[in-house]
């Protein structure tokens, strides 16, 4: 869902960046409070894994000629916490934009807002609200919802920018991202279950 430069108006891009800066401040102060020696190497390898995972586009079943790929914000949120998700996605998106021209520079704030802030916070909220259904189902739902929520916000931003009518953007974006969200849900579930099986102590670390 990497927005290229030009898809969003300058005021919308700046507004997104301002919102994201507020979340960076909250995330950094949260990290300063709870992030310890054990979190740091995990943060690093999980960020690396998210970068790698985002390169692996999967073909969507049911929609011809379309692919989706992992966002990973819900996954990081479940493993390390929602603000860790904002930090990790910020770094992944920054490397992608500056080194690989994947995602725009003027719209950087918007991409962080969609994939980091919305993806991470919504993913974590759904994981928390549905935790009684068990870790597998709640992880799936967190992954699924993070993508759909991000696609809704993306459509709203496209609409506000005057790039395309908001209703048309929503009607096109949401169904496709519900299918991508199923992929995100399964990947999130699989990796969370792997952590739970091999290293349940990591899931019990204080969430950032």
């Amino acid at each position: 869902m990497h927005i290229p430069d030009g898809f969003l108006s300058l005021p919308v891009s700046i507004a997104c960046l301002v919102i994201v800066i507020l979340f960076w401040i909250i995330a950094f102060s949260r990290a300063k409070k709870v992030m310890g020696e054990k979190h740091v190497p995990l943060l690093a390898v999980i960020a690396a894994a998210i970068f790698g995972g985002q390169m692996l586009n999967f073909t969507l079943i049911g929609i011809g000629g379309t692919s989706g790929h992992l966002i990973g914000a819900a996954l990081v949120a479940i493993l390390l916490g929602p603000y860790a998700a904002i930090i990790v996605l910020t770094l992944v998106l920054l490397v992608q934009a500056l080194v690989f021209a994947d995602g725009g520079v003027v719209v950087f704030g918007a991409n962080v807002l969609l994939m980091g802030v919305v993806g991470g916070l919504f993913g974590y909220m759904i994981y928390f609200l549905t935790r009684k259904t068990g870790i597998a189902i709640s992880s799936f739902l967190a992954g699924f919802t993070s993508v759909v929520a991000a696609s809704i916000v993306c459509s709203v931003l496209l609409g506000l920018s005057g790039t395309i009518e908001m209703s048309r953007a929503l009607i096109a974006m949401v169904p496709i991202h519900m299918i991508i969200g199923i992929g995100e849900g399964f990947i999130t579930m699989g990796i969370v279950l792997y952590f739970q099986k091999t290293r349940p102590d990591i899931l019990k670390l204080k969430k950032v």
């Binding site: 869902m1 990497h2 927005i3 290229p4 430069d5 030009g6 898809f7 950094f28 990290a31 409070k33 709870v34 992030m35 310890g36 020696e37 054990k38 979190h39 740091v40 190497p41 995990l42 943060l43 690093a44 390898v45 999980i46 960020a47 690396a48 894994a49 998210i50 970068f51 790698g52 995972g53 390169m55 692996l56 586009n57 999967f58 073909t59 000629g65 379309t66 692919s67 930090i87 990790v88 770094l91 490397v95 934009a97 500056l98 080194v99 690989f100 021209a101 994947d102 003027v106 993306c154 790039t163 395309i164 048309r168 096109a172 974006m173 496709i176 991202h177 991508i180 290293r199 990591i202």
Partner: protein
């Protein structure tokens, strides 16, 4: 405080992540992603502009040939940069204890 003991799991997880990229990259889909597809369907893909053009490896392609080796190399460099960046930011942000 003593440094936390090195955790082997970190290396295993990193190795598994890289292995998955090495194995799955050749079968990764070349189709446009959800947003690109929608932009094409609704006809606003032409609003995309190149504002920043100094990216050293556009399209994850270091040798500009689209081959597996070229994209994999770019990907591994990306993984290394991201990990280093997260390690530095993590060290800066972690609390003193």
């Amino acid at each position: 405080m003593k440094m936390a003991k090195r955790d082997k799991f970190i290396y295993i997880f990193l190795a598994l992540s890289i292995l998955i990229v090495v194995i799955l990259l050749p079968v990764a889909s070349e189709h446009p992603d959800g947003l690109e597809k929608v932009a094409g369907m609704l006809g606003f893909e032409d609003s995309a502009q190149e504002i920043y053009s100094s990216a050293p490896m556009p399209d994850y392609d270091i040798l500009e040939q689209g081959s597996y080796t070229s994209v994999l190399t770019a990907g591994l460099i990306g993984i290394a940069i991201t990990m280093t960046a997260a390690l530095i930011v993590g060290r800066l942000l972690k609390n003193a204890s």
